[in-house]
Symmetry: C2
Subunit: 203 residues, 2 copies
Amino acid sequence: MSDPQDTRARPETRVRLVRAAEQLLRVQGYAGTGLKQLTAAAGAPWGSLYHFFPKGKSELAAAAAAHAGALYAEGWRRVFEQADDPAEAVWRIFEGEVRVLEGSDYRNGCPIASMTLDVASLDEALRRACDGAFGQWLAAMSQGFEAHGAAPDAAEALARFVLAAIEGAIVLARAAKSPAALKDTGAFVRAVIAREAEGWTDS
Amino acid sequence: MSDPQDTRARPETRVRLVRAAEQLLRVQGYAGTGLKQLTAAAGAPWGSLYHFFPKGKSELAAAAAAHAGALYAEGWRRVFEQADDPAEAVWRIFEGEVRVLEGSDYRNGCPIASMTLDVASLDEALRRACDGAFGQWLAAMSQGFEAHGAAPDAAEALARFVLAAIEGAIVLARAAKSPAALKDTGAFVRAVIAREAEGWTDS
């Protein structure tokens, strides 16, 4: 039996490690994030990281990608349900990113984009983890478009465009420490979706 | 006088270091790129890096950002000059990115985006270097739109949208090892520019 006093093995320690990893990936990417920084940010004992993630940083980062993938897919589904139409839903996602960046002095970027640019060509398992997270977000958005009558292929292509625009606007906003890229990009993307939706079956 | 046999001090060594830095930033970002790897990739003697860049990696990376900023701004200006119209010019930029990524097994991403996501919140001088490179690209594109009659403010906002879309599509393409995000995003962006251009004074 495991020792109940052994904080390394507590399930909430695993959760804290995953959340700390997601936060550090947002701020500084994968390569610059060290194991000591991860355990310190999680308030977790040193041995806990290898207890839950025997392969170390890459395994924890893959878990953080899966966590972020599910979390934001769920959040975006709710936005689509609550908004009057898909163009409004995507506009709210851009507005939300402006708030997150302005509220964090432009630190809290996208953990998956940051990780992708560090690892996509160096670590195939982590590249797939990033692609899996993007895939969940694309599916959430596609389904939002399909629910308003878009054909599946058209919904998928539009979702790729929208997600690309969001991710790139976050990069430019962080470089400039300015919301301008998100606001301008969001306005163009909203107009594209509104125009596309005119051709959907239920509009 | 400097020793002409001292390869550390040859001007072409500096150029090779800057180009090697730009290449490594594309593939793996800033944090994961080490000094030994930089000098090895440049075929440069160890001492040369600190000879030309006394502050080390961050100073070399800033020079690489300035190099990439000027190089791509110039390339994009040529594309705008040669294309029939701005929508076609931007479409060619997307096509060019597809070729670069497919031809490099998706290694050769954008050096500035990769560096931004690693350093924007950690190194203010490098953040400004990244913002400066993006600024050169935005200016090249804005001028391309203005040359076809766009008002300056509208041209700038459109350029921010277009650059965001390009940068984000590169991220998604590298994660998926697929050109789909670039192709879909490029098609939507081209249509947006064509529609915008209908309202410009010379069309």
